[in-house]
């Protein structure tokens, strides 16, 4: 098709010009130097390089070089490979996407070069829009020769992010033509109902309006990352302090004792004084004590994140079978942040809703249809197994339409007059355009999806709207083709909230059919309808309670004479040059009165499956949900109600729609005054804080409102509210509300809103959306989630996680996120603990070894401790641990709260780990010390030699940290068992091997510990000391944890204690009570009435329109995409 041809041509053009886009960072030759350079820019890596250099200086080297080189090379290799793969993937994905562009519409297949487009991807609006080419370019048609020869010059504004504005000129054959947004087909919109069109590329690639709106791609880091950096700095400070203490100790020792001890141990060659020795010793201790931040920390963190990302990819419960889409963790470095989300910013269309409207129920002449009852008269919940109404009698029926109440078909078949009139109205009173490319294969193009649903319903029940001309409407009524004369369309607008048509039936009857919002239409009814009105109202309330959008329909038979008079005046009004609008609505109002009530329709804006339940669950997890949509206010609020974001029990729902800065400020302030009057007092701590730091924004603490509130804010008001002085007001007011709905927002505003919350709240944000208009907020939020499996891939491509259904979000957050967070926290706690316990023993030993940077352990043990002996058990825990399983996590969303509050790993927790590590290191040094001091082996030989002491201390340490990981592991899978027992076994195996005769004889210098294992581990003393160390290190922890669970149990403790043996089951159903909302919320602009009556959008007669025969439905209609 031509669009893709265009695209291809543009692409080849771009390729040939110098305008090519460079996307990859490396090539084959530059990779190694560039990548190494980049890697050493990371502070951690640079630090380890520095350590390595230190180790090569003989005066300083306290550990052999391989203790640092082996891990460093490993880390660099792993990261390097990862970078190379990332770069390659980025290159491939960008090459595979065709250059997409904003086009200037030149010509199209439709009359007057009209093109129908849907812009849901761009702005979330779901209605059909019309674009029209310039007449001069429309002449080009599809003549490729002419198009190729087309030679004009376009001058236009520089690329910008304004979606609704474009200015430019086209110079053609000496003439200048103005170009505006009406002639632009923007990247991201979908072409509907148009066979072909040709366009001229105006902006391509990153210059397109869509990309201009999508914001910058930033490298995302998690809060734990940032915290880790702070902690590492703290540890470095602590390290420096320890080294300083030991260096000073060395200085004193060398001048006091070492100086005299030179008879047996002379100072090193170039060390001439104690201060110099102290200086060198400082660096020696830096080398020894650097294991508090081992390089394996960073690698392990990456591995854990990667592993937990794979779980997301593998989760069958986040796999959507209908379009074969599994969930995908596209970024593998953000997992634990998923367990800390406090704000969710959600798109509406395509995310919360399916963008499918269903004719669900109706009330005709006081009888309600749509519910299904069983034999005992009980209402049955409709599901996939419920029997559908069979429409096969009607060959023109839409096979996708589903209805379950058989009584309505029966009423139609019984020729019930009101029912027929009801459907006749639905088939006549609308502005839908039919399309019938193949006989019988009717496709409706509706300006609003609601209208489409109503006309489709009528079609299925036997009132098939088949064709229209400016003057006629062809309807096949129960198989019989009838042509109605269309005399007038009394179009919709926002004030009228109703539309009417006046038609003359083939029989000659003159009728006005009207549909509209109940509030409006009820005022216009004839007094004889009172009792019907009551019954209908009851039904309307029922429908609204189920979250359906309703319309009331009514008719009126017109008097011929009166009509002739009216149509004359109508003509006058419609041609009036001044106040045309007012005059028209006046004349409309005059005729739309004393209407006869027919009934009501109920349309379901189909939510994605499970959206209300998901939102309820997320709300229980104290996650605040903000809906950011390009749709208009009523629509957004409607959806807010139907998916349980807003509900009538809320204390209030504020609507901010001021159109000046002051109005918006006042509205915001009034809202806040109502929610928390105290917040205006000077004594309010936030006010004080704002007062203090008026210039630089600070994080604001959470404020508690006195009830549950909702806030709805309009796009234009939002623009004011996002300005400098109001943004603080906005964030205070909005964050106090449980739910915030922003409507008619541009993609960039979405990002600004997210940015605002990020700026003022210490909270993790998540943005979820499906369309290109969500890209900016997806990129801005801490976590971006894309809904995959839809038409556009923009959102998914820029997202961090993607899946097919909104409802998977609860599993992503409450199960995967929570687990990832807990695992990461447990990992960090344990990791810091084990390395403090490991390293600080050296510190204590310094006081007994002349501060000489003598290590306590064998150098091999130091090399292998983090790499081989303790890495797998903690990795096992970080990959498998579950405090409670997924079912409980979902059933008790409050289990999620500790993550939001950052309770499991923060500076306090870190200090506790550190203290525990210090305590353990004391035990691990002084128990072996006490057990060996001035005593002997059981064979009388001395036990307190360095090698025995080293072995004893390291064995104590390893067993203690293994018991500790056992204590931390709450979910012992086979793998955990294997890792923990395996690591211990490996330790003993390696120790006995390295301390064996054979190894010593091969390399005496590297394995001097020969025989130590045999001789030492056979001593009862040693084992008594080991057991004592374990008891002293572990029992306080056990006691403390037991007491904590007893006295201040967390939700997780309670769930585990009380339900660990029970099986959770869900037996809840959502009930909604809600006010009625009109279906006309979905029309945004003026109707297409004028377009239809003028005939501008009509094609030459449809070949099938006048025949009364049906033909079987065959091919499914396929949309063309841009």
């Amino acid at each position: 098709m031509s669009i893709s041809k265009q695209c291809y041509e543009a692409w080849t053009e771009l390729k040939t010009s110098s305008n090519s886009i460079k996307t990859s960072k490396y090539n084959f030759f530059t990779f190694l130097p560039l990548n190494l350079f980049e890697q050493f820019q990371r502070i951690a890596n640079a630090y380890f390089l520095f350590l390595l250099i230190l180790q090569l200086i003989p005066q300083i080297s306290s550990l052999p070089w391989f203790t640092t080189v082996v891990p460093l090379v490993l880390v660099l290799a792993v990261s390097g490979v990862k970078d190379a793969i990332d770069d390659f993937v980025r290159f491939v994905s960008l090459v595979s996407v065709c250059v997409q562009a904003d086009l200037l519409l030149l010509s199209s297949s439709e009359p007057h070069s009209l093109v129908y487009i849907e812009t849901a991807e761009l702005d979330g609006e779901t209605n059909l829009k019309v674009k029209q080419a310039l007449t001069v370019t429309a002449e080009l048609g599809e003549d490729l020769q002419k198009l190729t020869d087309f030679n004009g010059e376009v001058k236009c504004e520089a690329p910008n992010n304004k979606l609704d504005n474009f200015t430019g000129t086209l110079a053609l054959r000496g003439e200048k033509y103005a170009l505006d947004n009406e002639k632009m087909l923007l990247r991201g919109c979908t072409i509907r109902n148009t066979e072909w069109c040709f366009g001229l590329v105006i902006y391509a690639g990153p210059d397109t309006k869509l990309m201009q709106n999508s914001g910058r791609t930033t490298f995302k880091r998690t809060s734990i990352d940032r915290l880790m950096n702070v902690l590492v700095l703290m540890i470095f400070a602590f390290l420096a302090l320890m080294c300083l203490i030991l260096a000073i100790g060395n200085g004193i020792w060398e001048s006091d004792k070492g100086y005299n001890f030179q008879v047996y141990l002379p100072w090193a060659e170039d060390v001439t004084s104690a201060p110099l020795s102290a200086f060198l010793m400082f660096w020696s201790y830096v080398i020894i004590l650097n294991t508090v931040v081992p390089i394996s920390l960073y690698v392990s963190v990456e591995i854990i994140r990667l592993g937990n990302s794979f779980y997301i990819d593998w989760d069958r419960k986040m796999y959507y079978p209908l379009n074969d889409t599994p969930a995908q963790a596209r970024t593998t470095t953000l997992n634990e942040e998923l367990g800390q989300i406090k704000y969710i910013f959600s798109d509406k269309t395509g995310t919360l809703t399916q963008n499918i409207m269903c004719f669900n129920k109706c009330s005709i002449n006081g009888k309600s249809y749509g519910d299904v009852y069983d034999q005992s008269g009980q209402r049955i919940e409709i599901n996939e197994n419920t029997e559908k109404v069979d429409f096969s009698y009607n060959q023109l029926a839409d096979p996708k339409f589903a209805f379950y109440d058989h009584s309505l078909v029966e009423a139609v078949k019984l020729n019930d007059v009101p029912t027929h009139r009801f459907f006749r109205l639905l088939s006549l009173c609308h502005t839908v355009m039919p399309e019938e490319k193949k006989e019988g294969n009717l496709v409706y193009q509706a300006q609003s999806p609601d209208e489409g649903a109503l006309v489709t319903a009528a079609r299925n029940f036997g009132f098939v709207f088949r064709a229209r001309t400016p003057e006629t409407i062809t309807v096949v009524e129960m198989g019989e083709t009838k042509i109605y004369k269309l005399l007038a369309i009394l179009d919709f607008n926002n004030v009228r909230k109703r539309m009417s048509v006046i038609v003359r039936s083939p029989e000659g009857d003159l009728t006005l059919y009207c549909k509209g919002a109940d509030t409006i239409l009820y005022e216009l009814l004839h007094s004889s309808c009172e009792s019907l009105k009551e019954e209908t109202t009851e039904h309307l309330n029922e429908f609204a309670g189920e979250g359906l959008r309703t319309l009331v329909v009514a008719y009126k038979n017109l008097d011929e004479e009166y009509f002739q008079d009216w149509i004359k005046r109508h003509h006058e009004a419609s041609t009036a040059l001044e106040g045309r609008e007012d005059k028209l609505s006046e004349i409309y109002e005059e005729i739309e009165k004393d209407l006869m009530l027919l009934g009501a329709t109920a349309i379901e804006d189909k939510l994605q499956d499970g959206v209300p339940q998901t939102i309820e669950t997320l709300a229980k997890a104290s996650i605040k949900i903000w809906v950011l949509t390009g749709d208009k206010q009523e629509t957004a609020m409607n959806i807010g109600y139907s998916c349980n974001l807003l509900y009538d029990d809320m204390a209030d729902v504020f609507v901010i729609e001021g159109s000046t800065s002051e109005d918006v400020l006042n509205e915001l302030r009034n809202a806040r005054k109502k929610m928390k009057p105290d917040s205006f007092l000077d004594s309010d701590e936030i006010n004080i804080q704002i007062e203090k730091s008026s210039k630089n924004p600070k994080l604001l603490p959470d404020e508690q409102a006195n009830g549950v509130y909702g806030l709805v804010i309009n796009g234009h008001s939002l623009a004011y509210a996002l300005e400098g002085n109001l943004e603080l007001e906005l964030v205070r007011t909005a964050c106090m509300c449980k739910v915030v709905i922003c409507c008619r927002v541009t993609p960039l505003q979405k990002a600004q809103v997210v940015e605002l919350v990020k700026k003022y709240k210490k909270a993790v944000t998540l943005a979820i959306g499906d369309g290109a208009n969500d890209v900016s907020m997806i990129k801005t939020a801490h976590i971006g989630v894309g809904i995959s499996g839809q038409e556009g891939m923009q959102a998914v491509l820029s997202s961090d996680f993607s899946f097919a259904q909104f409802r998977y979000l609860q599993r992503l957050l409450l199960v995967h996120g929570r687990w990832s967070y807990i695992r990461m926290c447990k990992f960090l706690k344990y990791f810091f603990y084990k390395n403090f316990a490991f390293t600080l023993v050296h510190f204590w030993y310094g006081f007994f070894s002349g501060f000489s940077a003598q290590t306590v352990y064998d150098q091999w043990f130091i090399t292998l401790y983090n790499l081989a002996y303790t890495s797998l058990p903690v990795l096992g825990m970080s990959l498998f641990d579950q405090d409670v399983d997924d079912r409980w996590s979902l059933l008790f969303p409050q289990l999620y709260v500790p993550g939001q509050e950052n309770l499991y790993f923060n500076k306090t927790v870190f200090i506790k780990c550190m203290l525990q590590g210090i305590y353990s290191s004391l035990i691990l040094f002084f128990i072996p010390y006490g057990a060996m001091y001035n005593t002997m082996r059981s064979d009388g030989k001395a036990i307190a030699d360095y090698q025995s002491f080293a072995l004893m201390a390291q064995t104590c340490l390893l067993i203690v940290v293994s018991v500790q990981i056992g204590l931390d592991t709450s979910y012992w899978t086979v793998v955990n068992q294997f890792f923990i027992w395996g690591s211990l076994s490996v330790y003993f195996a390696i120790t006995f091997t390295m301390y064996s005769d054979g190894m010593y004889l091969i390399l005496p210098a590297s394995f001097p510990f020969v025989g130590t294992a045999r001789n030492t581990l056979s001593q009862p003393n040693v084992w008594l000391a080991i057991f004592l160390s374990i008891a002293l290190c572990v029992l306080p922890v056990v006691g403390f944890r037991f007491l904590k669970a007893l006295l201040r149990p967390t939700a997780s403790d309670k769930v585990r204690r009380n339900f660990s043996n029970a099986r959770p089951h869900r037996c809840k159903r959502l009930r909604r009570t809600s006010t009625r909302r009109s279906g006309y919320a979905f029309s945004h602009q003026h109707g297409f009435g004028a377009l239809i009556m003028s005939g501008r959008n009509m094609r030459p007669k449809s070949p099938f329109a006048t025949t009364g025969t049906f033909s079987p439905n065959s091919d499914k209609y396929k949309h063309k995409g841009l």
């Binding site: 989760d315 030989k941 036990i943």
Partner: protein
């Protein structure tokens, strides 16, 4: 679609779905409280056992550094390595109780930093293992005791150079007659050290003097390594006194086994209560760095030498455990029921 259709649906394995069967231990009163009581109940008797055992060990210790002017060894206090003739002194002492079983004789040093990093690494294990190339070209780690007068030192390094070289002889004094007590000098080193770690250089014949040809003695030593002992299997690098010294101590106060005193008959104690005298050939200067030298006589038990620490520690930890168990039990009794009800707000 059959199984042939490839879908992207993830595999339904327990691993991928995170449903691996698992044991989920929880710290409950039912597990924690008994653990405390049981550990308490195990530790206290063990502690008492160790304590009693340790107390039954006979141990006698003499500081012969000679700091006090009254000490017989005071005259040797400022002895130097190469003083000839060597300074000797005799210390008389009385054992109040007899030593029944085998007695071990130790020398002990204090304030001697055998664990100093530069000291610990100042040796060449290859050389000590009999490697001929290392014998003539010792490792750099041995500096500054690597070579002397352009000859490689064997054994090189600070450890070997500072080898303890006092000679201790023990006499039983009965009615003014001194009976020498047989001190056994072999069997004081680890078997692995004597047979694996330390080996004399190999070459033609067994003449150590020839094998150590081309090397020189450590600076402080009065005689070369091949003249440490007259017995060939206790000479050179495999001399046990040397091996014992080379096994560096972990702490600045340490003991090293010097000699064994075997029990001769079942009827007589190894050392009966009474008067003894210790003859010391005082060669080893420690005064310059405030070092102390001791001689220790000790019997041993199943758990080694005298060590009150472990026994007391076990008794203390056991008691605390038991006490904590009681405290936790009370707390559990008082507050336990308050929180066990399922009061999770939902």
């Amino acid at each position: 679609g059959g199984g042939a259709v490839k879908t992207r649906k993830p595999d339904n394995t327990a691993f991928k779905q995170q449903r691996l069967p698992a044991w989920q231990p929880i710290l409950t009163a039912g597990t924690v409280l008994p653990a405390f009581f049981i550990i308490g109940l195990i530790f206290i008797p063990i502690g008492i056992g160790i304590f009693v055992t340790s107390n039954n060990i006979r141990e006698y210790e003499i500081d012969y550094t000679g700091i006090e002017p009254s000490s017989p060894c005071n005259k040797c206090l400022n002895v130097s390595w190469d003083s000839t003739p060597p300074c000797t002194c005799t210390i008389n002492f009385t054992l109040e109780h007899s030593f029944e079983s085998n007695v071990f004789m130790y020398y002990g040093l204090s304030n001697f930093y055998q664990n100093h990093r530069r000291y610990v690494k100042s040796r060449d294990d290859s050389q000590l293992n009999g490697d001929n190339s290392s014998l003539l070209n010792p490792s750099k780690e041995c500096e500054p005791y690597r070579t002397n007068e352009d000859k490689p030192i064997a054994p090189c390094g600070a450890i070997a150079n500072s080898m303890f070289n006092d000679t201790l002889e023990l006499y039983h004094v009965e009615n003014d007659t001194r009976t020498a007590i047989t001190l056994i000098k072999k069997g004081i080193a680890w078997w692995t050290d004597k047979n694996v770690k330390f080996r004399n250089p190999t070459g033609d014949g067994n003449n150590l003097t020839a094998l150590f040809q081309g090397t020189t003695k450590p600076v402080n030593w009065p005689k070369p390594v091949y003249m440490l002992d007259s017995e060939p299997d206790n000479n050179g690098f495999i001399n046990e006194d040397f091996i014992v010294w080379m096994r560096t101590a972990a702490l600045p106060t340490f003991r090293k086994l010097y000699r064994l005193i075997e029990r001769k008959s079942n009827l007589q104690p190894t050392l009966q209560a009474g008067k003894y005298s210790l003859d010391i050939t005082y060669n080893y200067p420690v005064h310059s760095f405030d070092g102390r030298k001791r001689m220790i006589l000790s019997t041993i038990s199943w758990m080694g030498g005298k060590n009150p620490f472990l026994g007391i520690a076990y008794i203390t930890v056991g008691s605390i455990c038991f006490f904590l168990g009681v405290v936790l039990l009370i707390i559990h009794h008082k507050y336990g029921n308050r929180n066990t009800s399922a009061d999770i707000p939902n």
